[in-house]
Symmetry: C2
Subunit: 221 residues, 2 copies
Amino acid sequence: MNKTTIPIVKNILNANDQIAEENKAFFTNKNILAINVMASPGSGKTSLILKTIEHLSHECNIAVIEGDTAPVTIDADKISELNIPVIQINTGGECHLDALMVRNGFSQLDLTNVDLIIIENVGNLVCPAAFHLGEHFSIVIASIPEGDDKPYKYPNIYRRIQSLILNKIDLQPYVDFDMDYFRKGIEALNPGVSFFPLSCKTDEGFEDWINWLKDKLQDNN
Amino acid sequence: MNKTTIPIVKNILNANDQIAEENKAFFTNKNILAINVMASPGSGKTSLILKTIEHLSHECNIAVIEGDTAPVTIDADKISELNIPVIQINTGGECHLDALMVRNGFSQLDLTNVDLIIIENVGNLVCPAAFHLGEHFSIVIASIPEGDDKPYKYPNIYRRIQSLILNKIDLQPYVDFDMDYFRKGIEALNPGVSFFPLSCKTDEGFEDWINWLKDKLQDNN
C-alpha cells in the first residue's frame, strides 16, 4: 500500500461557531457593523434599539433582526413603524438565537447600503452567552430595577461583551442599587469594558452610547 | 412457541417527568408543600422568599432550595441568616433546574417537620417552563419595571402556573405599565390564575399572597 497523507483538520469549530464566522465574514465584506444585544426580559432591549434608530438613522442605514420565543410581533412592529428593515425570528420556544437562525434572518433582508445591523436576542441572561451569531460586538443591557448583584449571579454573559449598558437610571432614586458593588462585579469579570449608564426614557446618558457606536461605525469603514 | 404476553408500558414519561413525579410523591407523603418559584433575573424571587419566611416562619417550618447558574451564595446566605435550612444548587451554567438536581438538593436537607419547601429556580423566563421539578404549585414573579408585554412574549411559562405575583408595584408611578393590557395577556393564557400585585419593599399586597399560601398549606394537612 502506498503511504497516503491523511488530511488533518485543525481548530474544528462547532457548527454554530462555524456559521457565526461565516456570518461575520459576510457582514465584514459588506462593511456592515453587526451588534448582538442581550439582556434579561424587560431590561429595555427594544427601547434601546428604537432610541438608537432615532439618534442615528439620519446618518446611517440600519436594519434589525428581532429574536422572540413567541410568534408575536410587538417589538418588530415598533421598529417597522420607523421604516427600518426588520425581520423577526421566532425561535419556537428556544431560549436563544443561534448563528443559523441569524443567517436565515438576514438572508431575507435587503442589506444594500446597510451600515449597521442590530440583532435583538431573546430575553435571557443565561443561554445567549453560549452562542456567537457573527456579531462584531456583543452588548448586555442591565437595568437598575434588576439589582446590583446580577454580574455576580450571571457571570458568563458579562464576561463576553464589549459594551455594557445600564438602563433605567431614572429609577435610581426609588430602588436600592449600589453602583460601586455593581461596577466591582463587572470589573472582576470584564476589566475595562465600556460602560454606559443611561435612561431610554429620559435620554440621560444616551449620547455617550451613541458616540461609542459612531466610533465603531467609523472604524468599520 | 407459546404465546406470551408482551408487557406494554403506557404513559411513558421522559426521565425528568418521571423523577418529578417521584419528587412530588416524596413531598406529598411527608406532608410537605412544594412550590417552584420562577421569574426573570431581578424580579424579586429571593426578596419574595425572604419576606414569605418573615411572615410565615412563626407558624410553619420552611426549607429552601436555591438554584443558581454560578457558584456564588448571595441568595442562599440571606436565607441562611434567617436560620432556615437552605441548600444551593449550582447548575454550572445550565439555564434551569431539573427534577434530578432538586432531588439531589433535598436529599441533603433535614426535612423532619418541614411543612413548606420553596424552590427558587434559575432567573429565566424561558427554559424553566419546560421542566417540572415535583412541585405542587408553580408561580411566576413578574415585576412592574419589566413591562406589561411579558405574558405576550414569554407565554409558555405563564401558561403553566397556578399563581402569578406582580412585584414592585411601588414603582408603578415611575414606569409606563398598562395593568389592563398585562391582565388581558394573562387571562388569554391562563384564565382565572391567582394574581397578587404586591411590593416586597413596602409590604403592600403581601398579605393576600400569604393567605393564598396558608390556604394551600392547610389543604395539604
